[in-house]
């Protein structure tokens, strides 16, 4: 199962015609301050999903900036962030950023469990994009064995127990 196949499949599911939500969010995203809010919220999502466990977290590595730069994800991110902010508001917080770490984790869990249109897909998409970027970062890969490129050396120890 190749990742690009997964992404292609994700694109075929719900999120009820990406054009419609894009029209809804396009203007707010351009408004002063909104971009910053989305960026900070994405950093919080990235850090909540991939906090590092002793390694640098995803936000510290700037992974969220990579994902924010993907044009095809703009509408999805805006819709998902709006949902997270509304969810936080329903709990009495100002927005997702106002939640503590446990609250943010619970909000992501709630989004994944939500049956609202496209929200579960938002979580899966963020997990895939943020996670791929995070675990492809040299600073993270270097903390794990056998993560280097296949060439030019190959694996001379391929018959042996991993070192």
């Amino acid at each position: 199962m190749k990742r690009r196949h997964l992404l292609a499949l994700l694109g075929t599911f719900s999120f009820g015609g990406a054009a419609a939500p894009w029209r809804l969010v396009a203007t707010p995203l351009r408004a002063p301050g909104t971009r910053e809010h989305v960026t900070r919220s994405m950093a919080a999502v990235a850090e909540t999903m991939f906090p590092g466990d002793g390694l640098p977290g995803a936000a510290a590595l700037g992974v969220h900036q990579q994902v924010l730069a993907v044009p095809d994800l703009q509408a999805r991110i805006a819709q998902g962030m709006a949902w997270l902010d509304r969810h936080a508001a329903s709990l009495g917080a100002a927005d997702f950023l106002a939640l503590d770490q446990a609250g943010r984790l619970a909000a992501l869990d709630a989004a994944f469990a939500s049956r609202d249109d496209g929200i579960q897909l938002f979580v899966l998409t963020m997990r895939d994009h943020l996670g791929t970027a995070y675990y492809s970062t040299p600073a993270i890969k270097s903390a794990f064995a056998y993560t280097g490129p296949p060439q030019p050396d190959g694996f001379a120890d391929f018959q042996q127990r991993p070192s």
Partner: protein
Amino acid sequence: MSGDEGWDTIVVGAGAGGGAAAYGLTRRGRSVLLLDAGPRFDPSTDYPLSGADWELREFPQKPGSTGQVTFAPGQKLGREPLLASGSRGWGPLANGATRLMDGYRHVRGIGGTTLHFTGEAHRIHPAAMKMKTRFGVAADWPFDYGALEPYYVEAEELIGVAGPATQGARWRSRGFPLPPHPLSYASQTLGKGAKALGLDWQANSRAALSLPWNGRPPCNYCGACNKGCPIGDKGSADVTFIAAALQTGRCTVRAESPVIRIEAGPNDGIAAVLVGRPDGSIERIAAKQVVLACGAVETPRLLLASEGLANESGEVGQNFMDTLFVNVGALHPEPQHSRRGLPSDAIAWDFNAPDAIPGVIGGCRFYNASGEAELGGLAAFALRAVPGWGRDHAKSVRDLWGHALHVGAIGEQLPNRESRVDLDPDARDRFGVPLARIASALAEADIARLRFMVEKSRELLAASGARRIYESYSSWDWFAATHVFGTCRMGDDPASSVVDAFGQSHRWRNLWIADASVFPSSGGGEAPSLTIEALALRTAARMASI
């Protein structure tokens, strides 16, 4: 009009079949124009696999390197929880109601699909060539294994196939040219499980060099065959058959030259091929002999789009088969780091014979599928093998990285009348040629075979110590064909086959087919490239003898 060069033969398609046909003809003194719709690939620049982003790089897409196809609606599914595709990290793949018609995995270009193939080099089981006579299903090959054996030898020698001394029913007149590859650590682990189950877990025969051969270096066990081989040890058609054909000085290779129509002439002969140019114009090339080697999807498409050429039997596009596949991943208690080593380096042929699976006709084989699972990198592992997110996820990734093992199974699909390739009435390419439309349906026997394949794969993993299954994919709900067959079946009877035993059209005497579309049956899970090449060499020998 061109064609002034006066090539003896025009070969359409520069993959396994076309490359081998070109080699077989040129080494016998014939001149060949080898055309392919796709581009050329340069291993050193197109897939170096030496960058930090290696995991994110798949076999490269270039303009024209993937053909367009469409799909008939997927088959409605019953309830088969064991066969449902998905992973713990990504969740279910398909919707559970209909089979996902996801794609036809192929490469157009000089080397064709062998550019991204794993490189297993298998001979077909002799009994799998006589499915009609022996088991009352599919169709017989119009000759025996012995008629193909010398051409297997020729292909293996040119490629430099590395393999074991014997492979059971597949008798050999000569040993493999190179010794087998040593088994990876992961395959050794799986071998312990196989032994406990009584399976004969052995070195796979591989189109990858275990020693230097014909100026090519040996494999360095990087594990990334499917991303393209940058060092040239993998026996793809570009570095073997096509390179050898070019060395004769009688082969002209043209990339980005899609043949869009075969033009019939008088007296049951082919007059010319029409080739699309990048600027949209069309070139007519006069033909003395034409060999089609576009694969089991594009070859019937080209014939059907040429006013149903060679379809006197009505069998062009019928009998479409794709091999059944299963791939199961599980976590072993000890680190394996199974990306190290040659993918598919070990295999069990125990259930490969057509009558080897209890209660089901048609065989399969099991193998170390860690390489083909595309789980070599940290990112894929973290997202597929470990569900969720947060600190628990991060800790699990750290604890479990490198513990993955995969077992795969590939099995026979029997032909049925619901599985076919025809022309899409609504979709055309840039030259106005209708696209191929693939319809694929599994019969109950195919599903029963898949059940056996999944169950045995899980048994093998468990017996090897890997009991925590985290993903399982199968062709029950996921059509993602790589091996395709049968759409221009060969046979002795012109009423029920498209070409004869040598790949020659029953009617059009200068038209030949040299790809897997001529297979009357698919075999019991063998990788088809070596058989395609042997068939093409046999066709070339026949052509040169006339």
